[in-house]
Each structure stands twice: as structure tokens, then as C-alpha cells.
Amino acid sequence: MMARNLFIPITLGLVIAFLIGPFLIIVAASFSAGETLAFPPQGFSLRWIAKVFTVESFRDSFFMSLFLAIGGTLAALILGIPASYALSRYKLPGAETIRTIVSAPIIVPGIIVGLSLLRYIVVPFQVGITLALFLAHTALILPYAVRVVSASLGNLRSDIEEAAVLLGSSRLGAFFRVVLPNIRGGIMSAFILGFVTSFNQVPVSLFLSGPGVRTLPVDMIAYMEIVFDPSVAALSALLAFMSIGIVFIAERFLGFSRYV
């Protein structure tokens, strides 16, 4: 009896430790006063956190990542909203196949997505690095956009569009007047999920990065290969707090978890 009572709390404790533990270690390491990335940290200082802001390549790659996350997510939504709408409202032949294809990047490992984009699109068509990264991120976010937007469309009755039409609206007008406002929460959620996914994306970006054009995570790996100081931990901690902040705001104002 006793053993069973302890089983659940212990398991739960371990799960939390595995999930939160690395994060706590990184946060602790970023306040270190020592010269190398180490845990437990040696002393306490803010110098590595300050250093993050002085590394020029970090700044460039941060803006690249920001551009990809925002631009890629917007592009994925522009493609994904009509796609979700069509999939949920019309009985399209092969709708299931389309859904599977759209979801593929979630299932297929990022390395394979990155490699195949490189091998079959970037190289043969001479696509520029920035454009290639943008396309790749759009493709990666699309499945999330379709899933989240589909979920909120599923909660919306389709007869309200017909009601709008009978009150004088065109079909397209009905989409903008009564569909979009009612899936706003889902769209915002998709945006945040897409943003975070893109920002933290490594394998695909790794393949497509080129001279001078890198995303932040890729840049961090490159930095670590040369310099092994705690500034990488400091940057990771800052990014993690940024993600947490975004998700927290989203949950607070949009009820984010309803859609994911």
C-alpha cells in the first residue's frame, strides 16, 4: 500500500526533474564567474549575460532567427488558414492525403527535411540561403498552423457563414466577417507555436545555413565549438525566458492551451 502511494509522487518528481533540471542548470551556469561552462557554477557574476549582448554574430543571427520566425509563421498562416478552411469545410477528394502531406514535416526527422531541401531544392535551383531558410521554416511551421487553425475551425459551426450570406454577405465576406473573428484565438495560438518552433529549430537550419547567414541556435553551436565560456548558457537562459514569457502571455490572454 505504502509503495503504491509513493509510486506516483516519485514518478512525477522524476519527470519534473528531467524536464526542469537542465533548464535550472543552465540558468545557474549562466551566472557563473568562471571562465568555462561548468556546473556547479564558480562564484556569481553577470558578466556572461552582459557578454551575450556584445557578441556581434549573436546579434545578427538573433535578427535572422526573429525574421524567420515571424516571416515564416506569417507565411505559414497565409497558406495554412485557407488550407485548413478548405479541409474542414469541403469534402475534398483525397483530403486525408493532403492532411498527411501537410503534416509530414512534424513526423519526418528534421535532418531528413533539411537534407532533402538542400539536395533537391536549394542546390539544383540555386536558391539563396536566406530564401532557402525562409522556405524551410515556412514548411516546418505549416503543419502546426494547419493543426491549430483546424482545431479552432472545428469548434465553429459552419452554418453561421450561411446565416451571414442570407443576411446579404458574399461568401468571401462571410469568411472575413464571421469566420476569421471567431478563430482569432486559434490563429494567435498558431502564431506563437510557430514562432517558438521556428526559433528553436536546429537540424533544418543547420543544413541550410551558409557563410554569414545563420540562425541563432546554429550560431550558438558554432560559437561553442570555438569558445567554451558560459555566455552560451546565458543566451540559452535568456531565450528560454523569452519563450516562457510569450507562452505565458498567450495563455493569459488567449487560453492558448485550448488549441494545442
Binding site: 459551426r157 451571414a164 442570407l166
Partner: protein
């Protein structure tokens, strides 16, 4: 065009892909009429309404409204109102904005818009709820919003698809009189769909009974209730003893049976349980079941004609199970069916 054929459906055939849902339907409805579509599930009531509203384009045939062929006119230009069974209110808009939706699209001047929207909301008794969202209203209140939203547009025809089926019994009676009041006050031509014969009988000027995508009978509530012309309609409005006629005799599971009196030329005869004379007559039956229904008692008899249902005043002495009773099916009272099956 005269007021008698305000809305006409001509040889209307409606299909979903290869499935024909409504076949060669003809119907004429007068201005200001209140018509009920009555029929079992899947007979094409909703489909017909959607075609009138323009949400479904016919495979063939025509819809004419107020002298104009609107078959090819798109739904947003017909000025036909449709109240959905699910109300279909816009969840993100307040009651006021729901009702104002159509008028805003028509670019109605602000002052007039406000006046009409407020009048619409007041007329359905929701003055205090104008700022609420649909989710904050009860089912009955949502229904009233839907009604007001359609009515402020002053539609030529208002279609209501099972407007009362989602309400509890009391609200249903309230809404019934509400609909009747609105219809009388505005004189709008109204068609409503129902499964419930009581609703159709009490509300409608005329009832259209449908069966498998075709009209089975059209008539006043009295016609439909007292003079069904087919076995299907008879069964639908509660004639429980229905027989096919063959050479002036009743066709029963045990062969043809003579009945007394001048037998009319008809395909069949039907009696309500109330019309069966119990206690005297040429036939004999054994009581197999009895049930008490307040004012009356119903008996199920095993007879040479097959099972017969009879209903008598509850004040009369009751009969035991198994008792042998004489009964009669008076031909003069029977509904004469022109069509059987």
C-alpha cells in the same frame, strides 16, 4: 403575379451529387401565408428550404418569388430569411450586433439602423440583453435573437427549419405564439419545417406533407387531420387502423373481409382509434393490451382483421385482458384514401 402565387416552386429537383433528395416538386404559396412542411426525417424538408433560400442550386426546375425567377439569383441577393435549427448566431458579436449585421451590410444610415435594431430587439423582448454575447443567453433567448435578426431585414419569405425542436415543452408553446404574433403583425410569408404534427396543425394555414422527396398531400390543417388522402399521411396523423380496399372489401392478413354499408370507391380506408365502435358490431376481437390515457382508454384487439386499436371514453367501464368484444369499423366515418402505400 397575384398574391396567390407569391412563391412558386416549379418541377424542382434537388440533388446532392448523384443522390436525388427532392424530385419534381411543385408548390405555390400565397403572400402572407404560414405554411408548414411536415414529414419524417430525410424526406427533403431542409433540402427544399435551402433551395428556396439559394443555398442549394437545383438540378432542374425553377423558384419564383414575387414574380421574379430567382433560380439563378445568389443567396445573398434574394432577401429570403432563414432561421436555422441551431440559431447560427455569430458568437463574437453582441445581440445588438447580431441583429444589426444585415442592415450594416446594406449600409443603412446609422440613425435608421439603430432605430430598427432596437425595435427588433424590443419586439422579441430582449431589450435588457442587447449587449450580451450569444453564449450568455438561454436557448429560448438565442432563438429570439435569431428571429429578430431575420425579421429586421424585412424578408420576403421567412423560412424556419425546426424552429422549436430545441426548446423544452413550455418554451415551445411560448415561441409558438411568438411566431404566430410576428407573422400576424408583419404579414410576412412564412414556411416552417416540423416533425411535430401538433405544431403544424396549430400554427399553419396550410400543411405540406412530404415523403421521400415528394409532396404527398397539401391541405388545410382540417384536411390533413380529417381527410388524409394516402395511407402514409393517414398513418402520420394518427389513423392507426388502415386497410387497403380490394373489390369493396378490406384486405387483411387473413384474406378479404366484407364490411357493411356502401363502400366508397377508394384505394383504402382508415380509422382513428376513436372512430372504432366498441361493444357492438359485426366483428369480434380479444383484448390483448389496454392503456389508460387520462380522458380515454386505449385497447389493442386481436381480431380476424389483424390488430385493431380502439379508444373509448375513460368514464366507460373498463375491459379485462382477454375479454371478447364486439366492434365495428363504421364506413361513414372512415377517411377515404386515394393512394395506398
Amino acid at each position: 403575379m397575384s398574391d396567390q402565387n407569391f412563391l412558386t416552386l416549379e418541377n424542382l429537383t434537388l440533388a446532392y451529387g448523384d443522390t436525388v433528395a427532392v424530385k419534381d416538386l411543385n408548390l405555390t404559396i400565397g403572400k402572407g401565408e404560414l405554411v408548414a412542411f411536415l414529414g419524417p426525417s430525410g424526406c427533403g424538408k431542409t433540402t427544399t428550404m435551402r433551395a428556396i433560400a439559394g443555398l442549394l442550386s437545383p438540378a432542374s426546375g425553377h423558384v419564383k418569388l414575387d414574380g421574379v425567377d430567382i433560380t439563378r439569383v445568389s443567396a445573398n441577393k434574394r432577401n429570403v430569411g432563414l432561421m436555422f435549427q441551431s440559431y447560427a448566431l455569430f458568437p463574437h458579436l453582441s445581440v445588438y450586433e447580431n441583429v444589426a449585421f444585415g442592415l450594416r451590410l446594406k449600409k443603412t444610415p446609422a440613425a435608421e439602423l439603430d432605430k430598427r435594431v432596437r425595435a427588433g430587439i424590443t419586439s422579441v423582448g430582449l431589450t435588457d440583453y442587447a449587449d450580451r454575447k450569444p453564449a450568455e443567453l438561454s436557448g429560448g433567448q438565442q432563438q429570439r435573437v435569431a428571429l429578430a435578426r431575420s425579421m429586421v431585414m424585412e424578408p420576403k419569405v421567412l423560412l424556419l427549419d425546426e424552429p422549436l425542436s430545441n426548446l423544452d415543452a413550455r418554451l415551445r408553446l411560448d415561441m409558438r405564439s411568438e411566431l404566430q404574433r410576428v407573422q400576424k403583425e408583419t404579414g410576412v410569408t412564412m414556411i416552417f419545417v416540423t416533425h411535430d404534427q401538433g405544431e403544424a396543425l396549430s400554427l399553419a394555414d396550410r400543411i405540406v406533407v412530404m415523403k421521400r422527396g415528394a409532396i404527398e398531400q397539401i391541405g388545410s390543417p382540417e384536411d390533413i387531420y380529417n381527410r388524409p388522402t394516402s395511407a402514409f399521411v393517414a398513418d402520420f396523423v394518427g389513423f392507426e387502423n388502415i386497410f387497403e380496399l380490394s373489390d369493396g372489401r378490406l384486405k387483411t392478413p387473413k384474406g378479404l373481409v366484407e364490411i357493411s354499408g356502401p363502400v366508397p370507391i377508394a384505394a383504402g380506408l382508415a380509422w382513428r382509434p376513436r372512430m372504432v365502435t366498441l361493444g357492438s358490431g359485426p366483428f369480434q376481437g380479444a383484448v390483448r393490451g389496454a392503456s389508460f390515457a387520462g380522458n380515454s382508454r386505449e385497447y389493442l384487439l386481436d381480431t380476424p382483421l389483424g390488430p385493431i386499436k380502439a379508444e373509448v371514453d375513460a368514464a366507460l367501464p373498463s375491459h379485462e385482458l382477454g375479454a371478447e368484444l364486439a366492434f365495428d369499423l363504421p364506413v361513414a366515418a372512415a377517411a377515404q384514401l386515394r393512394k395506398f402505400g
